[in-house]
Symmetry: C2
Subunit: 212 residues, 2 copies
């Protein structure tokens, strides 16, 4: 694909994603996307044979972009500390900084949006959504296992549930940010997850009992 075709494909995908997160998938027609992306009908169908093909490309792209962002933040965190717990805590602070730097309210998670219209899709797309979520779990779980190899949590934990808590926190936090129209709600929830890890791995200890 030449770079001009590639850039029009990207423009369609970016436009479609933004529209779908506001209007829903069923509530966004190919005509709406064509108008907004300033592309011809032929241009659209050159890239996507229909709405389902578009949906599949959107899920693929969303998961790839999220994976790339998490990888970049992880690598930056890993460069800043040798300790697996501190790396995780730094990663969560870098993620909070990223949200703080956004110039508008978080637009939403495409996987969440599609989950609430799940019957619009097919098994292939639903499976990709589940694989994306399992990928985020695996990424966090690997880092949690590294921490668990060194630190003993103050209460027994399931590494997969603790990894899912990261995805759950982001999904819940993004939703709150949208409803409250304020990214602060998402930042607070990422920080709450961070505090949870600190409490769990003894990075915060109860204040010493004062002698009377």
């Amino acid at each position: 694909m030449n770079s001009r075709a590639n850039s029009s494909r990207e423009r369609i995908l970016g436009t479609a994603e933004a529209m779908i997160l506001e209007h829903g998938f069923a509530g966004t027609t190919i005509e709406d996307i064509i108008d907004k992306a300033a592309i011809t009908k032929g241009g659209f169908f050159y890239h996507f044979e229909g709405k389902l093909a578009l949906a599949k490309a959107l899920v693929e792209r969303y998961i790839e972009q999220d994976d790339a962002m998490f990888l970049e933040l992880s690598e930056r965190a890993d460069a800043l500390s040798e300790d697996p717990l501190q790396r995780l805590l730094i990663f969560l602070n870098l993620l909070t900084e990223t949200v703080a730097g956004m110039t508008s309210v978080h637009p939403g998670c495409l996987v969440a949006a599609f989950t609430y219209e799940t019957q619009q899709f097919n098994d292939e797309i639903r499976d990709m959504m589940q694989q994306g979520m399992l990928g985020w779990r695996a990424m966090l779980q690997e880092r949690l296992e590294e921490t668990l190899a060194i630190y003993t949590p103050v209460i027994e934990v399931s590494p997969s549930a603790l990894a899912d808590m990261f995805s759950s926190t982001l999904e819940g936090g993004i939703l709150l940010a949208r409803i409250y129209d304020d990214n602060e709600a998402l930042m607070e929830q990422v920080q709450a997850y961070r505090t949870h890890l600190r409490l769990l791995f003894g990075d915060i200890r109860p204040p010493a009992v004062q002698e009377s």
Copy 2:
């Protein structure tokens, strides 16, 4: 409204909610709802003048039902303990039991579904959604303030952010349950929030350092 009219109104709302959580709001037509609810077109329009009126009634009903469930679980928890922290922890266990008792995967949160189609609605409905979320925050925050009046958290907390963590946990957990097709994911996240409160308020202490 007589009880027969009331029951057909309820049937429309219940049918519409279930369909919308699977197909989206834009992806569910009035005709689809009429077919599935086995009602006449006249019957539908007797109760709702159109799709926006239906959407408004759905949000109202969803928030009322959730409030009623939380109130019932709270009252049961309050009957089981005098201590505000234990009441909260019991409430979260009762909520986990409620999810465990569900015979199918959690159908989803209507407020979350509508947030991902926000441009389908109007300011009145969007405001009701925000008020619903603020209501859940206020409910939890009141209980957290009672706990904070007695217990000192091991790290300073924002009561509103900690209250929002409850809503965020439910929204994130419900989404995971739907994507994994397993309510266990939601139960794990409710328990993770419960563990967070226990850690924060010193209901779990780090194991005593063993003397060597």
